[in-house]
């Protein structure tokens, strides 16, 4: 009874990966995602695995329900209670016009209409002092109105509650009494203690919005899985890359808003640890998007500047919860190739998704996609995908690319397909440029770990383009890598609170200590509620710091234990160093401020490490499936196609070649070499001098 199960809901597939950490024995399976009722897809996939759930001690779940509810605006009717003068902060937002030449620009619609945004005449000052008391009579009227209007979830968010939450707590207690605990209540300061009334209020409102739905979903799932014989503990992936018991997420579902994509990053870090690669770019190529995340020294970048639905022209909705920094671009295997008004070829951001999918799926897709281009040029198997589970119709791909692209330019269908591939690769490379070059990092200092269905397909081209020297395609099948990554996550909680402390103040040391003490106390309360003993919790401290007068901050690791006078110099030193990396300058004479105090708690989970594979007597010839005629760099050539599962451990081969995995395809280019390491990872390196 020690198996660990990861179940990850993705856009098209629900992935299952279970492992016995002691023996390394594993079971994986991909099932269909069922968007209307996602729990059905989860249950079907678990059934499909055929696993005896009685031998598992933990099930870790990553889902997209929270993000989908927000994006499709299908959640609870929320009532919001604010401070006098601030009912409109949800609508005013930050007043920016991100789509600046669009004179019909519209802001994101607030999640609570004005008539359900009501004020009470309380006021707390920025130093925490109470200026006007809370009046319970006002609350009574508001609750009556909420009941009359059929409000299903209540959010209370007062100005300056990040400094002093007394009124929010009091109001919460009164509202719960008045509603007999029948309507769930979310308090702003419980979700985050960072300043910024719009961002904090919006975060709390979104929590209130998804809370009833997630509560029902997780409760049903628990019951169903238990019925199937599972007797272990349930954990949900959080956006911070850690996990927490289901009960925590039932109360604060907003913490799991980006739980899907982060598991891949956690997996990449775990793999990096094993193969001793500390600086990683994790590339997750999906069916509609490509995601990239930069990992420095095996530490994911966590921030609380996350937005739902933000892009070049839309500001999106701020969600101030800790999230692993991931960049997403609309470019994946099913992205559509099209010709713009002036006749230039474009790829994405529109995609066909799983249904009907690319033309070559034969399910009625009528637009040329990236996958069609790969099929046409023979770079992925022109007969079947998913290890044979899925039939491919190359002639349909040829037809659609010919008619929609090749004829326009009067070129061959292969040339047109190559054009699509080039532009898709360029899009994927851009995601990496954004997280590296544009943030002061050189991609050449990083190893690319590529997973997802299309990640391994893009990676060798991207590496060429950005001069990345080393690519790793994980030994875990790239298509289920995220589900595996979940098995490596720790129980993690982050507590963040704004408190301005200037390091040159006389009482700075005292203030820093008391703030961290309080945060760590709150952190331990969370773990206590989950039945975890405090001595098992590893605590890490950070602070968002800045030069006085600046608005932007940088995250700085802070020494643990009691801060003394001497520690101040060390903190300053770390800040200057981090600031210089991020912004390329430091101001040694300027006063330094701590703005947000951030405490992270981690309880290490039992790791399901990858075992070394025995070298065997198989030869490369055994792995060759066929020779295939392909089209690459403007010419036809014949390449060997190798079966990934039959590749001998420890070999090195010169490109070009194609390697087929049941969940993905890898193309090794001419200037590249392929190695199979002792774990079965595919390592692609560039030949020096070529």
């Amino acid at each position: 009874m020690a198996w660990r199960i990861g179940v990850d809901i993705g856009g098209a597939f629900t992935d299952f990966y279970a492992i016995d950490p002691d023996t390394g024995e594993n079971i994986w399976v991909k099932g269909e995602t069922t968007p209307k009722d996602p729990s059905r897809g989860v249950i079907e996939t678990v059934k499909k695995s055929g696993m005896n759930l009685g031998k598992a001690e933990a099930l870790i779940h990553g889902q997209t329900i929270v993000i989908n509810s927000v994006v499709t605006r299908s959640g609870a009717k929320v009532g919001l209670i604010t401070t006098y003068g601030y009912r409109d902060s949800l609508e005013l937002q930050r007043a920016n016009r991100r789509d600046m030449y669009n004179f019909r620009y519209r802001k994101p619609e607030p999640f609570v209409p004005r008539y359900l945004r009501l004020e009470v005449n309380e006021r707390i000052k920025s130093d925490g002092e109470i200026l006007r008391d809370l009046n319970p009579e006002e609350l009574k009227k508001i609750v009556e109105k909420f009941k009359k209007e059929g409000v299903e979830s209540i959010c209370i968010s007062f100005l300056n509650s990040y400094v002093n939450p007394k009124h929010e707590i009091e109001a919460g207690r009164i509202v719960r009494e008045l509603t007999n605990n029948e309507i769930p209540v979310t308090l702003g300061h419980e979700i985050t203690r960072e300043w910024g009334e719009y961002e904090r209020t919006n975060t709390a409102v979104l929590n209130a919005f998804v809370k009833p739905k997630m509560y029902r979903y997780l409760t049903v799932l628990e019951e169903e899985i238990k019925k199937m014989g599972f007797r272990g503990s349930f954990f949900a992936m959080l956006s911070n890359g850690g996990m927490a018991p289901f009960d925590f997420v039932k109360e604060y579902p907003i913490y799991s808003i980006e739980s899907g994509p982060v598991a891949g990053v956690i997996g990449a870090i775990a793999l990096g640890e094993i193969i001793n690669e500390k600086n990683i770019i994790a590339l997750d190529g999906g069916s509609t998007t490509t995601k990239a995340s930069l990992v420095e020294n095996l530490t994911p970048k966590i921030h609380s500047e996350y937005y739902v639905g933000r892009d070049k022209f839309n500001p999106g909705y701020p969600v101030k919860v800790p999230v692993v920094d991931i960049e997403e671009v609309g470019n994946g295997g099913t992205s559509i190739a099209w010709i713009d008004e002036v006749g230039n070829l474009r790829v994405g951001p529109k995609a066909m998704g799983a249904d009907p999918g690319p033309a070559c799926y034969g399910k009625g897709g009528t637009e040329p996609t990236v996958t069609d281009a790969y099929v046409v040029n023979g770079l992925i198997n022109p007969n079947y995908l998913l290890g044979g589970e899925m039939k491919i119709y190359r002639d349909l791909a040829v037809k659609v690319i010919k008619e929609k692209i090749a004829e326009h330019y009067n070129i061959t269908v292969e040339e047109a397909a190559e054009g699509i591939i080039k532009l898709a690769n360029e899009n994927a490379a851009n995601a990496i440029r954004i997280i590296s070059v544009q943030k002061g990092y050189d991609p050449r200092d990083f190893t690319l770990i590529a997973h997802g269905g299309s990640g391994p397909m893009f990676a060798p081209f991207i590496a060429e383009d950005l001069e990345i020297r080393k690519i790793v395609i994980p030994t875990i099948h790239p298509g289920v890598f995220s589900a595996w990554g979940m098995l490596l996550s720790d129980i993690r909680h982050d507590v963040i609170s704004t408190n301005i402390v200037r390091l040159d103040w006389e009482d700075a040391v005292e203030k820093i200590n008391s703030t961290y003490d309080e945060l760590e106390k709150r952190l331990m309360e969370i773990y206590e509620n989950e039945g975890v003993k405090s001595e098992k919790v590893i605590v890490m401290r950070y602070a968002d710091m800045r030069y006085k007068g600046q608005e932007h901050t940088v995250k700085v690791p802070i020494p643990s234990g009691e801060i003394k006078e001497e520690s101040i110099e060390e903190i300053k030193r770390r800040f200057h160093e981090n600031h210089e990396r991020a912004y390329s300058f430091k101001l040694l004479d300027s006063p330094v401020e701590m703005v947000n105090f951030h405490v992270t708690g981690i309880v290490k989970a039992k790791r399901a490490n990858i075992k070394e594979k025995k070298s065997d007597s198989r030869s490369v010839e055994d792995a060759i499936k066929e020779e295939r005629k392909i089209f690459l760099n403007g010419e036809f050539m014949v390449l060997p196609v190798l079966d990934r599962d039959k590749l001998p451990i420890g070999i090195t081969m010169e490109g070009p070649m194609i390697v087929e995995d049941p969940t993905s395809t890898v193309l090794v280019l001419k200037s590249q070499k392929l190695k199979v390491d002792k774990y079965g990872n595919l390592i692609i390196v560039k030949e020096v001098g070529k």
Binding site: A95, M100, N102, R104, Y115, S126, G196, N344, L345, R433
Partner: protein, 579 residues
Amino acid sequence: MSVDPFTLEIIKNGLIVANEEMFQAFARTAKSPVIYEVLDFAVGMTDGQGNLIAQAPGVPAFSGVLDFAAKEVLEKWKDDLHPGDIIVSNVPYYSGTHLNDVTLALPIFFKDELIGMVLNKGHWSEVGGMAFGSWNPNATEIYQEGVMYPCVKLYKEGKPNKDVIDIILENSRLPDYTYGDMEAQAASMRVAARRVFSLIEKYGLDSVLLAMEKLLEDGEKYARLKLQELPKGEFEAEDYIDSAIAQTEEPVYVRAKIKITEDKFLVDFTGSGKQVMSPINSPFPATVSGVRETYMAVTDPHAHPNAGFFKPLEVIAPPGTVFHPVKPAPTSTDWEAIAYATDLVWKALAPYVPEKLTAGHFVSILATIVGGVDDRTGEPFAIVEPQPGGWGAGYDMDGTSGLVACGDGETYIASSEVYEKNFPIMVERYMLNTEDGVGHGKFRGGFGVIREYRILNSTALATLQVGRHDFPPWGVDGGLPGPGNKIFLHRNGKVEEIRRISAEVLKKGDLISFHSSGGGGWGDPLERDPKRVLEDFKNELITLEVAENIYGVKIDPEKMEIDWDATEKLRERLKRERK
């Protein structure tokens, strides 16, 4: 063609990305908050002839100035440009906006051939002049607004030109910031130049030059396609700038005549008032920027704004007018007249291009400075910001509430909590301005804001300027105008209205109350769907009286229902009365 169309596409993207990387690099490394928070800068790249091939403006008011700067550099230095040179210029009349906005230009050479130029124009916090921060509503001539850098070499063949740099720094109240921004600006430009070189290395010079040409070609082709979708003919609009900010006896008359043909988009400001001895004048390049904003809006707001795309556009403004001031007219609060350039073209076209334009918005940014020495710490503090306001209604939608004005873009209005912590003020209210209301109509304007600063310090200095007060945001097709922008000062138990103050001393307990205007309405209010009127009433955006008297809708406030019969009768009566 030596290169296939897809590779060419990738090179084109590379050139555009080079600009985006330059933008990010500058935002990341600049020392002044006005750069990295407000994004008050723009970067761009031209070909060897000074044609803008790509640009990335942080605020739309900068979308027209870079090509003027490039042409200025080429004209002055044509035979004397060398690899490693960087030129600095900020003279508003030739290439600019106000003196604070300083352009650096870096010519790109490949084997002695000038193949392009990289440009970066950013707002420097200090360029000297009569007031801290260099802009001031009281200036009457440009010499009071700072030092002019007349297109001179900042770097010569890679080496800093110390003489020029010394003059610049010696005239700045914040030499550290000035130097830091200048260095960051130069460094970001080198990032872009490097990217161009790596493209040349990878694809060859000819392919890169071809890509530059193709960018311009595509831009022009696309602009012509978009012009086809616009109505052809002549369109006109006129308006007035408040005398209170122009410091004139009469309001300043402004007008625009627009002529759209198959291949031209001509904007003529002839007939607009003379330049004024107040810094609201819009230098000609800034006027072109202002026009380009509306041109982008009516063609395609997401188009790549390059010289090809702007080719059909021609702007005429006679020298000596508010839209083309000549030396020594002051220009440091040029945003007032720039916004009018944008707004006039918008006003002329709105009825004819309804799918792209709305009714008028609040236009003036209610420019605000509140500063002093914080009693709590003994240290100086300063709030410098625009205020948000209401935008106009569309033919099929209500206007958007609480947005920054047309000249601002990805500009964030600060959180009250942050202000209260950082500065000795209390933000008592920050809400939709339902007190002054909006321009009503079949679709109504968006709401402005009420934002109130209570001074908690012993004293504070306030500089404020508010336009579009006497001539409020306009309606379209029977839609009513908005209420106009207002600023009130509550002190000594009295309330006074403010139009323009400079470094006025405020005391503890005084309250500044910003009431920005709601946008104009679109269509007859009597045609507004009564359900929308009910919704506005339910949301406490309008009163029962407004519902009845303006919209002709009878609502039972208890049941929250429309009395349909009474509404029909009332609307008929009002229609007759209004005829």
